[in-house]
Symmetry: C2
Subunit: 152 residues, 2 copies
Amino acid sequence: MGSGEDRKLSASLEDYLEAIFNLADASGCARSKDIARTLGVARSSVTGALRLLRERGLAYYEPYGGVTLTQQGRATAREVARKHEILQAFFMNVLGVEKEAAQRAACQAEHALESEIIGKLVSFTDDAMARSAGGRDEKSESTGRRKRSAKE
Amino acid sequence: MGSGEDRKLSASLEDYLEAIFNLADASGCARSKDIARTLGVARSSVTGALRLLRERGLAYYEPYGGVTLTQQGRATAREVARKHEILQAFFMNVLGVEKEAAQRAACQAEHALESEIIGKLVSFTDDAMARSAGGRDEKSESTGRRKRSAKE
DNA sequence: TGACAAAGTTAGGCGTGACTAACTATACTA
DNA sequence: TAGTATAGTTAGTCACGCCTAACTTTGTCA
């Protein structure tokens, strides 16, 4: 049991991972300050979280250096981000929830639901969208899952 | 700000409230031991939670006495239980998730979703059920929301 | 009515996740 | 290059939510 703890991540650490993933995706490198701003926590809380992610083998991180994710960290973050997108798409496109509220709800629910249910939600959302579109345009834009650039 | 704190309840306290509500519903009175068994926690954890619920004006509770909910406690518990039922119905009846998994997922998600989304989920689940039944039998059994005896 | 079992509480501890305050490192600019 | 602003870390604290161990209260029964 040296480096990579593989216990289930807490909701909080999943949030950090997702934030780092999105920031790195947008600007190449995640800064501690930006992570703090994104998640609405103090900078010192970020430092603590980064240490935990490093201990678990999910992030590369040196004090005063930048933060990047390990291969495993990216994989986990991508899974969290995927859940988020699927849930948000369901709330918006199927239930008709307004974007901000859908965003908030997805943030909460992404930690609560297992992959089995997420999988069923994807099929369901895609079907519902296809049904409501009545086949008139190209299919399955529902989950908006084609945008992430596939680095790694 | 004397007795009734009205800050948002933690997921944990919502669970306690729901358990007390269901136990009292089933057997008239919630025992500490049964709450512990229901939630899979130690008896001492229940004692702590009961004190918090009392401080917030949600439960009547005397050491070594029984536990009952206040009017506000019952209202809150009913809302949590309602969310649970709606979510479980959606997972089972719309997504086709197996009962145990739906139960588990509802337990997690009930704390994450606000009333607006739950409301939309009700309409959606009812519609979906009516659609899939093709109007052949009486409508809106989907959410199974007619069983709770309406005391108070 | 005294002994015993079951139920419940108290005390103390641990992990997590946040905070503030104060410090250190880094980067910018005059 | 010295001063200063910004970024990041460390130290200390707090609340929450759980645990175990030991204690107290209550109820039952011979």
